[in-house]
């Protein structure tokens, strides 16, 4: 048992060392985490366990946390769970053993955290969640969640669609096609919910979702589903895609059908990755609702407050904005992911 534990800790150590090396390579010239931290006083140590590196969004999220920790002058102990809960639990245990000041993590799954969080609580180490939440029997097991409000993203998408329609001078009923994310994933469920909420409340008579299918958050999925949509409903006015990648795939399908994305079919997507902004600056996406992975600075602020014993909100929502085509060109160079 002990051996297994040791092995896991070592494995996590190796994984995080690898990740740190990759980081150093990326931001050129930096000398490693926390080395130029602010002078005076003992440096705050933050243990951070990331889900993995499954998407560009996640990679950007990791980078943001690392650079923000460095800027804030914290010592960051980073570990990549490679999408496995057991890795994450052993990483958190090793943080506890190393007596870090604050533990932050982005949970791989929703449940099964009570035991390890109680261990942290017993040692008086506050826990901050990022990006995703957990279900626990005891709400005091974590201090706060720093992350996006997916339902609100759906609402914002509907709101910005109003502007897009107005700008395009669209009159009369609006036929909407929706590309959903992976079935059962929180962002997919909540974005659809938020969008429908606004639609039912304010546009009950004129807006209608005529088709809705999952594109699995991927470009290939978006392209394939959209090309089927265009066959069964050639008169679609608007596409709402739950992420940029599906929207980019759909654009290709729309072009193959001989239509102009952004003109014949108005497109609103969520996320705001670089390729999405490229498509928007080309006029192919009409509006993007940002889901910001760059929550590093906000996280560090919260961590400092928690350490100082100040009160923080239960859910610190990430600062996010909405972008229309006019802003695309200006915003494009600032896109890091």
């Amino acid at each position: 048992m002990l051996n297994r534990r040791k092995f896991l800790t070592a494995a996590v150590g190796v994984a995080s060392a690898g990740a740190l090396a990759a980081c150093a390579k990326e931001d050129k010239g930096s000398t490693g985490t926390g080395s130029n931290g602010g002078g005076g006083g003992k440096k705050l140590t933050l243990g951070f366990s990331q889900v993995g590196s499954e998407s560009g969004w996640r990679t950007a999220n990791t980078e943001s946390v690392k650079s923000a920790a460095q800027e804030a002058g914290f010592t960051l102990k980073f570990s990549d769970a490679q999408q496995k809960q057991e890795n994450q639990i052993s990483a958190i245990r090793s943080f506890i053993a190393q007596k870090v000041d604050v533990i932050a993590f982005s949970p791989v799954v929703v449940t099964g955290w009570d035991a390890v969080l109680k261990e942290a609580k017993a040692k008086n180490i506050p826990v901050v969640l990022t990006d995703r939440s957990v279900e626990t029997s005891d709400e005091s097991l974590f201090v706060t969640l720093v992350g996006s409000d997916f339902t609100d993203e759906g609402r914002r998408a509907a709101k910005i669609l109003e502007k897009v329609l107005e700008k395009a001078g669209h009159k009369g009923p609006v036929k909407i096609a929706q590309l959903e994310g992976t079935t059962g994933a929180a962002p997919a469920i909540e974005r659809a919910k938020g969008f429908k909420e606004v639609m039912d409340a304010e546009h009950k008579d004129d807006w209608k979702i005529v088709v809705s299918q999952t594109g699995d958050f991927t470009r290939a999925g978006g392209k394939q589903v959209m090309s089927a949509f265009l066959q069964s409903n050639p008169d679609i006015d608007v596409l709402f895609a739950h992420n940029d990648d599906m929207g980019i795939g759909a654009i290709q399908a729309i072009e193959a059908a001989g239509k102009k994305p952004g003109k014949d079919i108005l497109i609103v997507t969520v996320d705001g990755v670089k390729d999405g902004f490229v498509a928007m600056s080309e006029g192919k996406i009409n509006a993007i609702v940002e889901c910001n992975p760059l929550l590093g600075p906000q996280l560090m602020e919260v961590v400092q407050k928690v350490k100082n014993g100040e009160k923080v909100e239960r859910w610190v929502k990430t600062e996010e904005s909405d972008f229309l085509q006019e802003q695309a060109k200006d915003a494009l160079p600032t896109r890091k992911y």
């Binding site: 998407s55 959903e180 299918q213 290939a220 090309s227 390729d275």
Partner: protein
């Protein structure tokens, strides 16, 4: 119950049931999409549901054709999805570093690098199965699990976008008004069919699948044949990987070809190739792959709710597999026929029309 010999010959052809299912699935679309079969010219190429089905089905056909030969030797290859991801990732990674992504030399080098990686994966699988005697399902599981990690390593966890017109042609472009991928698929299928049916190669593959040891004793180099089919399967997966990444002009190490191995195995089974090895049908596999793609497209066009997608798919697949099983057909239709012979009261009168109607439905 009068079955003419011609009808009997037709229903007993090994391609009858797969083709019948394909036709029924295509017809199901008509009430939902009235112009489902219409094909029109758009921007100088043909456009329509049927074209989309072939275009999006091309990678699956390729992977399934490769899988057919592996299964014919009594093996299985779970690594094809990962090979798809690796090939796409390597090719796009190399291509994206080129100063001029439209230069043909750069594109060909990138293709060669990607396909070489696929061949290496195939050699590794073949080596483990044929030389080390490891169970195929275990041997190929290694690359299935690790390969996707390798692909993510190559892409750095990001989606690599390329903007190369020549590369886009392979999986997303058009040639002579048709999707270029159709020509690639036709070429691969034709070469495979020629090699396996016009030379002794097919026979050798089947004999290895029937009994590897007996084949070896009669002088067939069964190990070499096995390595060859795994390499061929990986190469097909590699070409499919090029198509998938070319179709969206992007390499997604995480999602490209995800679960395609299962669809491919299903296509092979629907096509009438036995998983026990020893017999195979390339034509059946192609039809099987088209059935799966048509089913996917049908789900999108008829508006099955997202949550029930998979249940719908499963139900259709179960029906298809049951229809294919001679035992099941004998039990269901045969039982009714048998029940008619003794003068049983009432019941046969009810069942006779349905038994008659079932086959007719298939040909309409």
């Amino acid at each position: 119950m009068t079955t003419t010999p011609r009808w009997r010959a037709l229903t007993h052809h090994h391609l009858f049931w797969p083709v019948a299912v394909l036709v029924v699935l295509l017809l199901v679309n008509i009430p939902f999409t009235p112009d489902f079969f219409s094909i029109k010219m758009t921007d100088g190429h043909l456009y329509g549901s049927l074209v989309s089905i072939v275009l999006f089905g091309s990678p699956l056909i390729l992977v399934a054709v490769g899988m057919t030969l592996v299964i014919a030797t009594g093996g299985i290859d779970l690594s094809v999805g990962a090979v798809v991801a690796i090939t796409g990732a390597l090719t796009c990674a190399h291509l994206s570093e080129q100063a001029d992504q439209n230069a043909l030399s750069g594109v060909f080098t990138a293709l060669a690098i990607g396909l070489a990686a696929a061949v290496v994966c195939g050699l590794w699988n073949g080596f483990l199965v044929a030389r080390m005697g490891i169970q195929p399902i275990i041997a190929t599981l290694i690359i299935m699990v690790a390969g996707r990690g390798v692909a993510q390593l190559i892409t750095d966890g990001q989606i690599i976008t390329v903007s190369s017109e020549p590369y886009k042609l392979i999986g997303g472009g058009y040639w002579l008004t048709l999707p270029f991928s159709i020509f690639v698929v036709l070429a691969v299928v034709a070469v495979t069919a020629l090699l396996t049916r016009r030379t002794a190669l097919g026979l050798l593959v089947e004999s290895v699948g029937g009994n590897a040891e007996a084949s070896r004793l009669v002088g067939i180099r069964s190990r070499r044949i096995k390595i060859m089919v795994y390499v061929f399967c990986a190469l097909c997966a590699g070409i499919a990987g090029l198509m998938i990444s070319s179709n969206t002009s992007a390499a997604d190490g995480n999602n490209a070809g995800l679960w395609i191995e299962l669809d491919a195995i299903l296509a092979v089974v629907i096509g009438g190739t036995a998983l026990t090895g020893g017999r195979f049908s390339i034509g059946g596999t192609v039809v099987g792959a088209l059935v799966i793609q048509t089913l996917t497209t049908t789900i999108y066009t008829i508006g099955v709710p997202t949550q029930t997608n998979l249940v719908f798919k499963a139900a259709v697949v179960i029906v298809v597999c049951l229809m294919q099983s001679p035992k099941f057909r004998a039990k269901v239709f045969g039982a009714k026929r048998a029940a008619q012979q003794p003068p049983a009261p009432a019941a046969p009168a009810d069942t006779a029309p349905t038994a008659d109607a079932a086959p007719k439905l298939e040909v309409s």
